[in-house]
Symmetry: C2
Subunit: 193 residues, 2 copies
Amino acid sequence: MGRPKEFDVEEALSSAMNVFWSQGFKAASLSDLTTSMEISKSSFYETFGSKHDLFLSTIDYYIRTATAQVSGAAHVDAPAHKIIRTLFERAVQRMVDPKSRRGCYLNNCAVEVSLYNELASKRFATGMSIMEEAFLKLVERGKREGAITMAHNSRALARYLVSSLNGILVMGKAQSDKESLYEVVNVTMDALK
Amino acid sequence: MGRPKEFDVEEALSSAMNVFWSQGFKAASLSDLTTSMEISKSSFYETFGSKHDLFLSTIDYYIRTATAQVSGAAHVDAPAHKIIRTLFERAVQRMVDPKSRRGCYLNNCAVEVSLYNELASKRFATGMSIMEEAFLKLVERGKREGAITMAHNSRALARYLVSSLNGILVMGKAQSDKESLYEVVNVTMDALK
DNA sequence: TCGTTATTGGACGGATCAGTCCGATACTCT
DNA sequence: AGAGTATCGGACTGATCCGTCCAATAACGA
């Protein structure tokens, strides 16, 4: 019944997210968005409601996809502390590559709009706590494996890791020198011992 | 000769910075700025050139004032590692207070405009390296005082501290719980031992 | 008093913006 | 063939934006 959608909503969301990620919410015009999403203005409003609605949807999309990666890594068959290190090293690699030096989408969104946008900042908090839970499981496993210190409780260490990861993503914007960032990772990881 | 300026340029810069800090560059309208700065549109363009010029000036202003605080703390007569902890605790206090939960101005600016603004991102890098130098001196002193580990070179530790401080400022936006943030500070500081 | 500079407020231009609406067309199922 | 939906492009609205310009006024020094 009726003509089917010609574009994939998830793909369009991904494109839109990349536009917001690169330009910010305010700076991204509707024209920028529809061009990148490869849909017409009419389809845009029909499917996504408004620029602001779309923005919130891209945050949900990011939480759905990006945090799934971190959570997924927790199930890899390797020592927990190695998985943690790998997650940090991947972050460094992303910040070193000019094409992906955009930091964390959630952080960027929080900076730009959380101040005047309740809905967006709630999503930011949600994303962070998902990250925290993922790290928490890894830390607990690391303790059982005897590779992580008992000097701090697991949740404190998990929060420390989320915080540190964000710090590295911020630093990467100013200091894209690979070795410097790896040094920071080394010090950060040593705190777990 | 001629009528003297009636407003203080530094004060106006401070007001403008607060507007940008709270709303972001794009979202801050000229009307918002002139209202907060308490000058007319004509005086605005006469003195500050353009919105963008003013923006860059506020970044310089921030670097001039805020990093001076950190650098100044280095000369306090107290054990270096205690000074470092105090700096972190002050950051936590700022993030816990709803009125000052705005993170680091440099970071916010970098997130919003660094992607399409060379001049702003250079300033961001400058600010970060000033912070790094301040922490470097503290770390070196802390080592001489025997309170900081020799396991890592001083510059790596200084970078680690800058990174961690930024991480805490980011986390504070999602997690404003005081105790959680203090826990992160504790773990962070333990890495120096 | 006179020249110089600072300040103001408002009018104005040119551009861009988000969002609405409509007519034409294309696709799919019954 | 016909009903139902998707898509498109473009015209349009109303608002907002940054920035320019100008005439009037106010404060200073000589």
